[in-house]
């Protein structure tokens, strides 16, 4: 049996088993089973990837046909899996980081009862399965299947705390917003089907050039609509911050490390189509850049630490999208990889803080926690450094690469770079702000502070591993002028072999170094500002609803996206539907039906009351009239 099947179906099997019987097994067994399945999946994934690596670079593609999904005479599509460098990288990320997060969750969720515990792990395993389906897909139908299934598991996990209305709302919102994107994806699939008569990547992507420019643009934009939904790009980003209603490991796994990167993955996967349309690529890049910048500005004023990381995730996803949008697929994917590590780390660390403070998430009530939880503090600082792009961390290299490509890549634009740069500056500020508010300065809520404690080792271990990973992963993609050892680029090279120029050639070493210096300086300055602002006794946090300026109010309310959607889509749509129901359905359509019945009854009443009134003479009159009618008709026909 192909190891990929184990990778894929073992988590599914465990998920089903745990969901059905996990509650009876007890917590330990359920968690153990779940973790083990992901670890085994990781092992098999690693094995598969190593096997792939052993192949010559040009033929690194393994196609696995599981069974036929649909067979419509001239059109067939199967449940087919494709292992290539791109999906190989992704399955390692999904199972690897997935495992660490599972491990973390063993500790994090231990207060839940056995049933909930098993349910949690079932859902998470199911998510792993869904995500693997997505990345391993060899055709558009399977990728759409995975695409939707991660949506479902995300929905389930966001709404994990089923008794909470806000959790259920957030899950619903996530799913519906994603569905808006899926609408585009579905249309793109149909267009591809029309154009190629097949949905297999192997039949579509190598022959993408056959698409007319207009069609390529349409397909690209529609695909990106799907990608934007899943990767929380503006204006479809609104679900991601709310998704933090889910348990923290979920935020780390799904809403930071893996699922949300699916959009980036999709664009990279279909780059052959995007490359045909400068317009589509432009939309991708500008969407990414704007999202990166705007989300970073919002993150600067939020006080809920998970929410800060959520907006940060939106922003970082913007960078990845910007990367693929400017044609720097490798750079975008590299940021995906580094971000997976450090954002997972940041969320887990935030979870650790939250765990220590019994669910407290408001950074205004924290402070000075480094004494109580040094490990969490240290690892979170590592993560934040990566996020902020402190030199020599992985985030520094990956973000740097993207910005460079925005300035000098094949589809570069100074505006893109500028937005990216400003976003990076904001990132440095909010990362610093969060770290300093939470761990440094004086405790602002003494009661909470007194009861704070470091997390157990099952939570600590993943933090450490992820911190190490966050730092180390940067080595895979050092800038080209430092070393010729470029494992990441080389590994993905076969996937992007169809692209024309080697983009980096256009950037001089001086420019690269100059930009690095600029970023370093910016990070240092903004970090210092954050330190000054947020370590004091009365840190510069305004209270809820207290706006210091119009700008602050704008950011605090996240540019009023939710309100706008609430008005346009929810209230207007519901209002319209209600109107439609009352006046059209009940009024016009049903009214016609009932009106006909009422008219018949009225006619019946008329006949009974007026015509059959019991008077013989009237009856005789009708009789005579009838006779006249007959005679009249006869005469008419004989005229």
């Amino acid at each position: 049996m192909n190891p990929l099947l184990v990778v894929l179906f073992l988590p599914l099997a465990t998920a089903v088993f745990n969901r059905l019987f996990g509650a009876r097994l007890g917590k330990g067994a359920a968690a153990g089973l779940a973790c083990a399945s992901v670890l085994v999946a990781f092992a098999f994934a690693a094995d598969s990837v190593l096997g792939l690596a052993a192949l010559p670079a040009a033929s690194r593609q393994v196609l696995v046909h599981v069974y036929d999904l649909l067979d419509l005479a001239s059109f067939r599509v199967g449940f087919d899996l494709l292992l290539d460098p791109l999906s190989g990288m992704m399955i390692l990320v999904v199972t690897g980081i997935g495992f660490l997060i599972h491990l973390y969750a063993v500790g994090y969720m231990h207060e839940e009862d056995a049933g909930e515990y098993a349910r949690f792990f079932a859902y998470v395993n199911f998510f792993v399965f869904s995500m693997l389906t997505l990345v391993l897909a060899a055709n558009f139908l399977v990728i759409f299947t995975g695409w939707e299934l991660v949506g479902v598991s995300s929905y389930l996990l966001i709404g994990f705390y089923r008794g909470k209305t806000s959790a259920a709302d957030a899950g619903k919102k996530a799913f519906i917003v994603n569905r808006v994107g899926d609408f585009g994806f579905l249309m793109a699939i149909f267009l591809i089907w029309n154009a190629f008569g097949s949905l297999d990547f192997s039949a579509v992507l190598p022959h993408a050039a056959a698409l007319s420019p207009g069609m390529a643009t349409a397909v690209g934009l529609l695909l990106f609509m799907g990608a934007a939904g899943k990767s929380a790009q503006g204006p479809l980003h609104v679900w991601l911050p709310d998704a933090m209603e889910g348990p923290t490991p979920v935020s780390a796994l799904i809403h930071a490390a893996t699922m949300v990167t699916a959009g980036v993955f999709l664009v990279a996967r279909c780059h052959a189509i995007f490359e045909l349309s400068p317009l589509a690529l432009g939309v991708v890049a500008w969407t990414g850049a704007l999202t990166a910048f705007l989300a970073a500005t919002v993150a600067m004023v939020q006080v809920d630490i998970k929410r800060v990381w959520a907006y940060s995730t939106v922003s970082q996803l913007g960078y990845m999208v910007l990367g693929v949008g400017v044609g720097a697929y490798t750079a975008g994917l590299f940021h995906l990889l580094t971000h997976a590590f450090f954002k997972a780390l940041l969320f887990l660390a935030a979870g650790s803080v939250m765990h220590a403070l019994h669910g407290e998430l408001d950074m205004r009530r924290m402070g000075g926690l480094w004494r109580k939880m040094p490990l969490t503090c240290a690892t979170m600082i590592v993560g934040a450094a990566c996020l902020a792009g402190v030199p020599l961390t992985s985030g520094f290299f990956s973000k740097d690469e993207i910005l460079l490509m925005a300035l000098r890549g094949p589809h570069a634009d100074f505006g893109l770079w500028l937005l990216g740069y400003l976003g990076a500056a904001c990132t440095a500020f909010y990362s610093g702000r969060l770290i300093f508010s939470v761990f440094f300065g004086k405790p602002r809520d003494h009661h909470a502070y007194e009861h704070a404690h470091e997390s157990p080792w099952v939570m600590g271990l993943p933090l450490v591993l992820l911190a190490v990973g966050s730092l180390a992963v940067g080595l895979l993609g050092l800038p080209g002028f430092l070393t010729h050892w470029q494992p990441f680029t080389d590994w993905l090279a076969p996937v992007f072999a169809d692209l024309k120029a080697v983009p980096e050639a256009s950037a001089s070493r001086a420019l690269v170094l100059g930009l690095m210096a600029l970023y370093t300086g910016t990070v240092a300055v903004l970090g210092w500002i954050a330190w000054r602002l947020y370590t004091g006794e009365a840190a510069a946090h305004p209270a809820d609803g207290e706006a210091t300026s119009a700008l602050h109010r704008l950011l605090w309310n996240k540019y009023f996206f939710d309100e706008a959607y609430g008005f346009v889509f929810v209230r207007a749509l519901l209002g319209y539907s209600r109107w439609l129901w009352r006046w059209v359905d009940q009024g016009l359509v049903d009214g016609t039906v009932n009106g006909v019945a009422a008219a018949a009854q009225a006619a019946g009443d008329f006949l009974r009351g007026r015509v059959h009134n019991g008077r013989t003479r009237q009856y005789a009159a009708y009789l005579a009239a009838g006779a006249c009618l007959l005679l009249g008709l006869a005469l008419i026909y004989h005229r």
Binding site: L623, G626, L630, A634, Y637
Partner: protein, 486 residues
């Protein structure tokens, strides 16, 4: 030259003669035995006469068409089946009278005699080829029916019904007389076969043809009055409601059979049924359907509801008549089948009304049926079958015959009339569903009739058997369709 008539001529009229002799026998027996036991004897004699009449009709059916009295009487398959149906209707009326006749003051020899006279005349009109003969027959059975409608003089309703029926019936008959005069003017005779011979030979001058059509239209008025076609139908609800239930049944089923038998003969005078007759029939059919169905829609008195329903059914039969001009449309057969099945459906319905109203001092209302569905399962099922059949829904005989009339109309090219008629079926379904609603879906009404609605005795047997027959004919309608090959 005086033609010589013989036994052969009498044989053709055998069924009628059996009825008339039966009537005489009944009266004679009543005079001979003025005792309580004579009631049964009289009843048996009447039944016997009707049985003989039916048997003779069957014999005539087997013997094939026969002309008698110089062509004034012409029987054939269709009239013979009408006669058979009339005799059967008479028997069913006896069954009904047996159940409630006592309490309704019907069990007198005169009742049976009048019934037999009426039936004899009704059978006669279906074979008559001579308008004068038809007129005499029409008046004979009409007079008998006026009396039957007012038979129970103690009932106020009976008296009013009789007077209304009489005045309107006589009024309608006057139109027949005038019509007959016009026909005579056109043809020099009142023989239908003469008309058909002249018309098909094209030997009739245009003004005379017009006169003939006017005359036939006026004659038709009286017949349409009898079958209850709008706008000549207004008497039906009042008279049915005012009469005793057996008489109401007889008025509805018997008059329909006889009236349509006569109408078929009348229209047979105009071969190919040229204009204006199809137009007249179409207008009347639509008017009748609307009047009957819409009138019944809000009716709560069950007998009135059945009266309106009888009007509506007349409408459907008229739709079937539309096909008369087209050879092979099976129009006559569809009319025949429809009226026969109507007689059965009406019997089940009126029979159940009779069973339910037992001892009730006021008219039976829909609400009296409430809650009976599961308490009186057989009663309710039989009524439900009758209602479904009347609504023309499968799998009942009502559906098959309705299909027949629609088919005839469509074959005659009267698509529009067929569409209107079929949409009327929705209204009629609404009417009959109300009965089912009352039976099965509403709780017992506090002032509803108590006790009655037991199916027992001859009536119970007949009602259940005929309800089953409606179902059986719906599933295996071979015998109904065989009428088409007559």
């Amino acid at each position: 030259m005086i033609p010589a008539y013989g036994l052969r001529d009498l044989a053709v009229l055998g069924p009628e003669i059996a009825c008339i002799l039966g009537a005489a026998l009944v009266l004679g027996l009543d005079m001979a035995f003025r005792s309580q036991s004579s009631k049964r004897l009289v009843e048996a004699a009447a039944a016997l006469a009707l049985g003989v009449s039916a048997a003779l009709a069957l014999g005539r059916l087997a013997a094939g068409p026969g002309s008698a009295f110089g062509g004034q009487v012409l029987d054939g398959a269709v009239p013979d089946v009408f006669r058979l149906g009339l005799a059967a209707t008479g028997l069913l009326t006896l069954v009904l009278a047996r159940r409630e006749g006592g309490s309704q003051g019907l069990l007198h020899a005169e009742f049976y005699a009048l019934l037999l006279f009426a039936l004899g005349a009704m059978e006669l009109i279906t074979v008559s080829q001579d308008l004068m003969l038809s007129f005499v027959a029409l008046e004979t059975f009409s007079l008998a029916m006026y009396v039957l409608a007012g038979f129970n003089k103690a009932w106020h309703g009976n008296r009013e019904a009789a007077l209304k029926y009489f005045l309107l019936g006589a009024f309608a008959a006057a139109f027949f007389v005038l019509g007959m005069a016009l026909v005579f003017g056109a043809l020099g005779s009142v023989r239908l076969d003469a008309a058909s011979a002249l018309l098909s030979g094209g030997k009739l001058a245009a003004p005379r043809e017009m006169l003939l059509d006017l005359g036939l239209s006026l004659c038709a008025t009286a017949l349409l009055f009898k079958v209850g076609a709008a706008p000549f139908h207004l008497w039906t609800p009042d008279v049915y409601a005012g009469s005793t239930t057996p008489v109401a049944y007889f008025l509805s089923a018997g008059a329909k059979l006889a009236g349509f038998g006569a109408l078929l003969k009348l229209l047979g005078a105009v071969p190919g049924c040229p204009a204006p007759f199809p137009q007249i029939l179409a207008v009347l059919a639509v008017a009748t359907l609307l009047a009957g169905n819409l009138g019944a829609l809000r009716q709560t008195n069950l007998k009135r509801l059945l009266a309106y329903s009888s009007v509506a059914h007349t409408g459907y039969v008229l739709v079937g008549l539309l096909g008369l001009g087209t050879a092979g449309s099976g129009a006559a057969a569809s009319v025949l089948a429809y009226t026969l099945v109507y007689a059965v459906m009406a019997f089940v319905a009126f029979g159940l009304v009779a069973a339910a109203e037992g001892g009730l001092k006021r008219p039976l209302l829909l609400e009296d049926l409430q809650g009976m569905g599961f308490e009186r399962p057989y009663f309710s099922l039989a009524l439900a079958v009758a209602m479904v059949s009347m609504a023309g829904l499968p799998p009942t005989a009502g559906f098959i015959v309705k299909l027949g009339v629609f088919k005839a109309a469509l074959d005659g090219g009267h698509t529009l009339a067929a569409v209107v008629a079929i949409l009327n079926s929705v209204v009629s379904a609404a009417v009959y569903l109300r009965v089912l609603v009352a039976l099965y879906m509403l709780p017992k009404s506090p002032d509803g009739a108590q006790g009655g609605a037991r199916l027992s005795g001859t009536l119970g047997f007949a009602v259940v058997a005929l309800a089953l027959a409606l179902l059986a004919l719906g599933l295996l309608p071979g015998s109904l369709l065989a009428l088409g090959s007559l």
